[in-house]
């Protein structure tokens, strides 16, 4: 994750219309947006769509970002809102996430990545929203607890606690036991 100063500078440059700044912001934060979206929608292809649309929306309304240094928190809130809307529309369409036809791993993924990914996604689905976001941002994105706490508006201690709960639940779920940790959403 970029530092707050670097992020604020990039946001200011993007607000002035510098093409390179848009790309740098996307490069720095699109993956985090994808992770958060994935935690909500549970399907990689849909998470990609949600993350892309949310990111474009954020870039379009960049002037509404009142604290450029907190761009990540602002962006991820847009992603959450998008993902919730997407879930609501999926509920209307009544399409189960498991039926996704286009969730095959990409060309660069290991051969058994599909099965493992399915297990992980199912296990993540059993977590509460906050522990899920914490474990994805920490273990997938590599963010620190300080960064996660700043973005989620929680304390570092709580971030650590959520990570502990999420990891324990994920391990149990992957090992075939019933997951816990979904009750603290």
């Amino acid at each position: 994750m970029l530092g707050t100063d670097a992020t604020a500078t990039l946001v200011a440059r993007a607000q002035r219309g510098e093409a390179a700044a848009f790309e740098a912001l996307a490069r720095a934060y699109l993956r985090a947006a994808y992770s958060v979206a994935l935690g909500f929608v549970g399907r990689p292809a849909d998470a990609e769509d949600v993350a892309q649309d949310a990111f474009v929306q954020a870039l379009e309304h960049l002037d509404s970002c009142r604290e450029p240094a907190r761009f990540a928190a602002w962006l991820l809130q847009i992603v959450r809102n998008r993902a919730r809307n997407w879930l609501a529309s999926r509920k209307l369409r009544d399409v189960p996430a498991a039926d996704a036809p286009n969730d095959a791993p990409g060309d660069g993924a290991p051969p058994d990545a599909g099965a493992l990914r399915g297990e992980l996604l199912a296990a993540l689905g059993g977590l509460g929203a906050v522990p899920r976001e914490v474990v994805l941002l920490h273990d997938l994105e590599g963010w620190t607890h300080a960064e996660i706490a700043a973005v989620l508006g929680i304390s570092e201690v709580m971030s650590r606690q959520h990570l502990f709960v999420a990891r324990r639940a994920l391990r149990r779920a992957i090992d075939g036991q019933s997951p816990s940790g979904g009750d603290d959403e």
């Binding site: 219309g17 093409a19 848009f22 790309e23 912001l25 996307a26 490069r27 699109l30 993956r31 994808y34 992770s35 994935l38 990689p44 990609e48 892309q52 990111f55 474009v56 929306q57 954020a58 870039l59 379009e60 309304h61 960049l62 791993p105 990409g106 060309d107 660069g108 993924a109 290991p110 990545a113 493992l116 990914r117 992980l120 996604l121 474990v135 994805l136 920490h138 273990d139 997938l140 502990f164 709960v165 990891r167 324990r168 994920l170 391990r171």
Partner: protein, 116 residues
């Protein structure tokens, strides 16, 4: 141990590097285009709205000035009305015993016809 990092690399969308890079560039381009379009629309609105508002304000101001200068004041209107009202004038002549000449009477009655 729950303190050990969970390997979530199977969920990493950047496994396919070139594809992810295309995605990043596409998002940046879409965002930039959307922002430019939005700013253009806003800019055009401001460009068109500002003179229109200024013209409307000028018209309103001119109208107000015209009304203020052309319309008689309340006191003037009352005096004029009282002065030209034949009934009022005749009553005043009767009360004061004034004896107007024919031309004056015709003028008052003529004014009465003219205004009615």
């Amino acid at each position: 141990m729950s303190d050990e990092k969970i390997d979530l690399s199977a969920l990493d969308p950047t496994h396919d590097g070139p594809r992810w890079e295309r995605l990043v560039q596409a998002v940046a381009a879409r965002g930039r285009a959307a922002r430019r379009r939005r700013l253009t629309v806003s800019f055009q609105l401001v460009v068109w709205l500002r003179p229109a508002l200024a013209a409307a304000a000028c018209l309103g101001l001119l109208g107000g000035v015209a009304i203020a200068t052309s319309a008689p004041s309340g006191a003037e209107r009352a005096t004029a009305t009282a002065g030209e009202d034949p009934a009022f004038v005749l009553a005043a002549w009767a009360a004061t015993g004034e004896r107007p000449d024919t031309a004056e009477i015709l003028r008052i009655l003529g004014a009465s016809h003219g205004t009615d």
